[in-house]
Amino acid sequence: MPGDSSNVNINNKAAAQNTYDAIVIGSGISGGWAAKELCEKGLKVVMLERGEHIEHIKDYKNANKSVWEFPHRGDATQQMKADYPSLSRDYPLNEETLGMWANEKDCPYTEKKPFAWFRGYHTGGRSLLWGRQSYRWNKWDFEANGKEGIAVDWPLRYEDLAPWYSYVEKYAGIQGSKQGLDVLPDGEFLPAMEMNVAENYVAENLKKHYNGSRHLFIGRSANITKSLPENNRPNACQYRDRCWRGCPFGGYFSTQSSTLPAARKTNNLTLENNKIVTKILYDKDKKRATGVEVIDALTNQTYTYQAKIVFVCASAFNSTWVLMNSATDIWPDGLGSSCGELGHNVMDHHFKIGAGGVVEGFEDKYVYGRRPTGIYIPRYRNIYDDKRDYLRGFGYQGGGNRGRGIEVAEFTFGAELKEAQSEIGKWGFGIMGFGEVLPDHSNRIYLNKDKKDKWGLPVLEMDVEIKENEIKMRKDMMNDAQEMLTNSGLKDVNAYDYGYIFGMGIHEMGTARMGRDSKTSVLNSNNQVWEATNVFVTDGACMTSSSCVNPSLTYMALTARAAAFAVEELKKGNL
């Protein structure tokens, strides 16, 4: 096992062949972007993916199935729940995506406090399984830590990232509508998907009631509303809303549909599957990484790969896990741990709270097509003159639709029930809040050396909880939802709190934050590890705060920015 020298079986012949310009660890949203950018700039890149390969379209085995072709109509079985105890806490455990989430028996983790960790270990990672909501951060998101004295200041500002947002939006393909709001900057959008009559009604009423200070519009998402042949994407979204099974039309952004074909086209990419990176190899005299060590997931053989630069994009916690296992002869807690922040400041978005109700009228209208996005209400708390007893804010996602089934008298069965269950009822409309989580040093992950995974590697222990700021915010998230829907003309409005377990947002952030000072942060303003400047961490691990908007677009922008910087530095001979 790694770290146990008697067991290390370095294949020297392979080692000589395993030399590249760049190593990219992970093939998800960030890894895919790193590979694309570095390959297109002429570097020979090896992308190391710990899981099996999933080939675009060909391997999406459930993509074209109808609901009746699933024996349990999509539901989780008791056996699935036993096999995936963590995943079974929420909707991701279902028959349609079974096999696309990490095997929890082979890859366990431990919970000092409850934590839901939903991982995708295969080519493309969670880029196949993401919610596709794509929002820019605003200027306040980057300034808040510094102004409020929370954690550390971001070492960059909105203006630094704005051109990179544009760059990645144009390639990934984001549909949305321009709103001209400071709180949610506009981007380079494809034509927006349409809101339905109920959603338009609520949007108008909301605007009227709050004098234009609150907004409701179509959720911006990485579903393409027109084909992008120049990006190798011949088909637009077909409104199937089967994204999670893998899209046979390539209608949404994933590594497979978007960044992997671009990287492959250069002939500079080598994708290696079933390679679990166990550590970054560190030369303490040169203060730089020389490569990585991997264990082959199928053969348990250990190999090394050498490169000039390493992009760590293994998903937030796994990127930090790799750092924790690296250079431990110099820093017992791993590469990047000297500041005392490695593994700390875990963030997510807390949610599963909001309200829903009935929109009366519009009985002569229905909806055709299954739109793969909903509506969005951007943050309005603690901006401009608004001041609450907590910091930061939240946005809402939601939507309206007419459900199947109309009311029947009790004891009804037979033809009357069959008909009633086939027609459609009133318009329903619901929203769910997504709140910012403050970075807190005490929210942390660390190696649990008492528990090992299938390959004898130490697992992560989660010691994370929401704190007072989030708990206070949740009251507003529920009350505001109920109040806004009531004020927007809905009837029978009910608030709900389904209960949130840390991690359920599947937006793990932090644990290797960026900062302005090597004494208080793991990474500098270009995502370089302070102690090893040829190591870049550009996934969720690098985040210094969490905003309340979905984070993936920001990872894309940060990754593309860091890749461009890395190549410039290589050219200058600085790396």
């Binding site: 109808s66 729940k81 229905y366 069965f413 086939s422």
Partner: protein, 204 residues
Amino acid sequence: MERRELLKFITAATGVAFVVGDSMLSGCNTGADISVTFSDADLALLDEIGEVIIPTTTTPGAKAAEVGKFMKTMVTDCYTPIQRESFMAGIPQLKDACSQLNKKEFAACSADEKKAFLLSLEKAAKEFNAKNDESNNVARDKANAAGTAFEAAPPHYYTQIKQLTLYGYFTSEPGCTKQLRDKPIPGSYDGALPYKIGDHAFSE
């Protein structure tokens, strides 16, 4: 969201929360694990009951959708042990109740006799479920106060059969393609599609 809505409609139609398995109690085995055996006769009986709940009209009914087989799959694989126990104990109870009311097996009953029998089950289930809800609420409060896990006692076996019939039928091929409107590849979106009363919903 869509699946949650689907479950909501079944709840509305049966008056009882539709729970397959129990998402909050994953892998939790409360109650005796009984082995499940469905005879061919059981499956035929469930098909026949299903057919009275969702009959063949101008479109196929529950029997064509093989709801008996679907119930077997769901009860065996997705139900928790106590839900399964209740369902399996219900089959002989149902047979007895039919013999008592109509003095013959369900299959041998006339259409009117079948309807009369189902009406008696609807009423028995309503009474049972009201009491069951009450005791569940008490037990839930106790469990919440003690911070222990809680699994609701299942509803009347007839309610289970009715819920699985509705769920199975409206997710079956005939249910989705003949009774509802099936659009596997919509290709576009219209948020103001004209609708008139009597038009059927699109399938999931």
